[in-house]
Symmetry: C2
Subunit: 169 residues, 2 copies
DNA sequence: ATTGACAGTTCTAAAATAGAACCTTAAAGC
DNA sequence: GCTTTAAGGTTCTATTTTAGAACTGTCAAT
């Protein structure tokens, strides 16, 4: 499987992974959420090579996660800010951080703490059901094929099936 | 930066990314949450090369996300099941799927729908504050250094500062 | 006139991944 | 008894990605 086929898979996880599913993209996004915006700032705080940073920023702009906007003329300089699509990645970032807080910290404890401005408390993120508000667990969720699912065995009208559709999975 | 230094970074996101921050690990975990357990099942549904699948499974076992248990003797055969540490990845997987549902679906709609067994409804995952229960947004969160934070500017004893230490972040 | 900041681009070497073939154990079919 | 099939890998070469360092271009400040 190649990387550009990934974003066309009939799977929302695969398509998202095509955008953020590499080490550097997630680290760059961490910096974005910590209010970093500029090439040099990303490069020096991450230690990423300039080559790869340039490429990842282009990719994130291409996918609409970041926007590249000039912050000065002559010489023209740009900074990268999160779009709404990018801001919507926050639950992913926070759930990743939270898992690390629970399972990957050493004896010194958490590197970072989060305070909710709304209520003033230090908090952890919790994922709940949009309908009943209860915390979610894998066992309590049933998965159904949706309208965009790959057709594995249509009951009829096989003939007009998409010839590009892959079998299996 | 090399991959094995990532898991020692004083950052919960970096350490988690060291475990799941590549394309295949996340796709393998998707299959795990869809109740796939066996080498051949992973391989045929993902199209991953056998070589890489073996390596990724070893890595996930090494990090305690999966456990390799025999399901028959002679010939000895193993299957891979999620540990509690692995099950705790569910919010990450679900937030990734949800972002894809919102931002990456085509005109056909969502490939998969989720039903909450507890309340019976089709739902979306929502990330809320553990203390007040309100949905979280990046702007409403303030970040503080925690006990495991990297020391960026000790008040004294500057002289014995680690010369390799990066500034910022 | 030289230095430095910023935002990249361009090279070569090293590492990771793809793709295919091969190995081992043991049961099933002929 | 011999061959095929299944499961769960391992081994090999070719291609792609990434690392690491140097270089470019524009302008401001010294």
């Amino acid at each position: 499987m190649k990387w550009d086929t990934l974003e066309e898979e009939p799977c929302s996880l695969a398509r998202t992974v095509a955008v953020i599913g590499d080490r550097w993209s997630l680290l760059i996004l961490r910096e974005c959420f910590l209010r970093k915006r500029r090439f040099e700032a990303f490069q020096s705080s991450l230690g990423i090579t300039r080559h790869l940073l340039a490429e990842r920023l282009k990719k994130l702009v291409r996918f609409g996660v970041l926007r590249r906007i000039p912050y000065q003329e002559s010489p023209k300089r740009y900074e990268y800010i999160l779009t709404q699509k990018g801001l919507d990645l926050y639950p992913i970032i926070m759930s990743i951080v939270h898992w690390g807080n629970v399972h990957m910290v050493d004896s010194r404890g958490r590197p970072m703490l989060h305070q909710h401005k709304n209520c003033g408390h230090m908090f952890d993120p919790v994922m709940v059901c949009s309908e009943c508000g209860e915390p979610l667990t894998a066992k309590a969720v049933h998965v159904h094929p949706g309208p965009g699912a790959r057709q594995t065995s249509p009951t009829h009208a096989m003939a007009e099936d998409d010839p590009k559709a892959k079998t299996g999975s």
